[in-house]
């Protein structure tokens, strides 16, 4: 237990050190780099160091405390927080959707060889489609969908795109985990005349957990990326993706502002990963300590 705590403390420390290092590099370049950027054969390969191109780190953070627009009571902080919370909920919905879809597909593929052979290549191909191209399609399909009293809300498109990115690592990781049960454990279950479903729940899923943990962690951050990109490309209001575009438009007059939204997006991703890590720690608490990931 103490080693776990020590390792966690060490990781936190290294995380802070890495962050501090980025700040130091940023500020050092800003202080020492050429004002007009570095040029090579007429092409600019290094950024300009002016405050418009590279605001000070402390300007970025102090921007959080000032009003979002001149004369407003609302600070940038609360705007970013509201945006991040909005996107978080969409990502969570996308993650759950992707998790159910990915796990379901993995079970089907593990059960039926022909499903695996038929579906797996398409799953791989699906991940090569650029999300930006897919986003408007999902919005327009969703808009045409109406089942009884159910009307497709605009935010659902963003969640669906989050799920689209999340399901893939989850499906692949879970499938690998379901296939990881040793031959003798499978024979053991057979010797107990256990059905396929019983074997699935009593043997295959528990065996798959150490494979599913990193897969779900990937899925969680993927769903955040999916949602933020979907917000940007469909112009969905209320989320952190929209804030990034809006603030970026103001970059010429208020260069620090867009960074607040970017930090918000990063914090959102970390929170999502953090939630999954807490769940991981819980499900893995009684497992042998050497992990496979």
């Amino acid at each position: 237990m103490t080693t776990t705590v020590r390792r966690a403390a060490y990781r936190t420390f290294m995380f802070i050190v890495a962050l501090a290092l980025v700040v130091v590099i940023w500020e050092t370049y800003k202080a020492l780099g050429p004002a007009d950027g570095g040029k090579l054969f007429g092409a600019r390969v290094l950024p300009r160091t002016s405050s418009y191109a590279m605001p000070h780190v402390w300007d970025m953070f102090s921007r959080f405390n000032r009003p979002e627009v001149r004369g407003s009571d609302r600070t940038v902080f609360s705007a970013v927080l509201a945006g991040a919370w909005f996107s978080f909920r969409l990502s969570a919905a996308g993650f759950v959707l992707g998790g159910v879809l990915g796990t379901g597909l993995a079970v089907l593929m593990a059960r039926f060889r022909w499903v695996q052979r038929g579906v797996l290549p398409y799953l791989v191909v699906s991940q090569t489609i650029p999300l930006i191209a897919l986003a408007p399609l999902v919005v327009s399909w969703g808009g045409k969908l109406e089942v009884g009293p159910f009307v497709w809300p605009r935010w659902l498109s963003a969640s669906v795109l989050g799920a689209f990115l999340a399901f893939f690592p989850i499906a692949v990781g879970t499938l690998r985990g379901l296939a990881a049960a040793s031959a003798s454990s499978v024979e053991l279950m057979q010797s107990y005349a256990a059905s396929w479903t019983k074997t699935l729940f009593k043997l295959r899923f528990p065996t798959a957990v150490p494979y599913m943990v990193p897969a779900f962690r990937l899925g969680a951050s993927a769903s955040v990326i999916g949602v933020v990109v979907a917000e940007i490309s469909t112009g969905l209001k209320g989320g952190i993706g929209r804030l990034i575009i809006e603030y970026a438009r103001e970059a010429t007059g208020d260069p620090a502002k867009v960074y607040t939204a970017i930090f918000g997006a990063a914090a959102l991703g970390l929170t999502m990963a953090g939630v999954v890590i807490v769940v991981d720690a819980f499900v893995m608490r009684n497992r042998p300590k050497e992990s496979i990931s």
């Binding site: 040793s182 024979e187 053991l188 010797s191 005349a193 256990a194 009593k202 528990p206 497992r287 042998p288």
Partner: protein
């Protein structure tokens, strides 16, 4: 009624293909209730295949396997046997107690009965204080004892073991052999035991079945009568060494024949 009856059983893999393997050819064997029978032979002699046919984890290509007077399928569906492998194969995510309860759970026993039986089994393998440990916290020998407890939890009349002590060190191995004999005597279980070790086969068994490969068949059956209860002292008796020699000659004879055959292959 015999505990296990094997009638002219053959098993081939990849039938009809160029890589067809005749794992077993017309093997017949009867095991009486309460008997301890070992299958011994070099790799590829089909001893594990034979065990899996009895367990109905494989279907024979020809011939008939009966367990407790039923077909092997029915016996498996009725959970008439317990099985133990070289790897203890305990489930990492279950406590020792829950591992032992697994076959009972699958049989649909209710919780109270399962707990009582698991407690009994832990007493039997003399590890009651480890009920709430996880398997990975136990030594290899302890894990194997829990695997035996799990295999016997539903009180099956037959225990099938595939080199269960193969991964243990020599000291633990001899201790486990003693434990297995004690447990089988206490429960009256019939055992079919696959092993590579001649002394192990002789020490444990009433009969040692010597098998040879290509195609897998029984070449010799050695009756082992060591008189009375088997203890550590049994390992020093002349009768013990004589039985070892007889089994070894059985294996050697076949080996010599194979060296002779082997020359054409070179």
């Amino acid at each position: 009624m015999t505990a296990v009856s094997i009638r002219k059983v053959s098993k081939a893999f990849n039938v009809g293909k160029s890589n067809q393997v005749d794992a077993l050819h017309e093997v017949s064997l009867d095991v009486k209730p309460g008997e301890f029978v070992s299958l011994i032979g070099p790799s590829g002699c089909g001893k594990s295949t034979l065990l899996r046919l009895v367990a109905n984890l494989l279907e024979p290509t020809a011939g008939e396997v009966m367990v407790n007077g039923k077909s092997a399928v029915t016996a498996r569906l009725d959970q008439d046997y317990g099985m133990a492998f070289q790897q203890a194969g305990l489930f990492d995510w279950r406590t020792v107690r829950k591992n032992i309860e697994l076959p009972l759970e699958l049989k649909g026993w209710d919780k109270g009965d399962r707990q009582t039986r698991a407690e009994e089994m832990l007493q039997l393998v003399q590890l009651p204080e480890f009920a709430d440990h996880y398997p990975w916290q136990l030594s290899g020998g302890m894990q194997q004892r829990i695997a035996i407890a799990r295999a016997l939890a539903a009180h099956p009349p037959l225990l099938l073991m595939d080199e269960p002590f193969g991964a243990l060190d020599e000291m633990t191995r001899e201790y486990m052999q003693g434990e297995l004999l004690r447990i089988c005597a206490a429960t009256g279980t019939t055992v079919v035991f696959v092993t590579h070790s001649i002394p192990e086969a002789v020490y444990l068994s009433n009969r040692v079945v010597v098998m040879s490969p290509r195609p897998g068949r029984i070449t010799k059956i050695v009756d082992v009568s060591l008189g009375g209860e088997r203890t550590e002292e049994t390992r020093n008796r002349t009768a013990f060494f004589e039985a070892i020699t007889t089994v070894r000659e059985g294996l050697r004879g076949m080996h010599a024949a194979h060296v002779g055959l082997g020359n054409d292959n070179r």
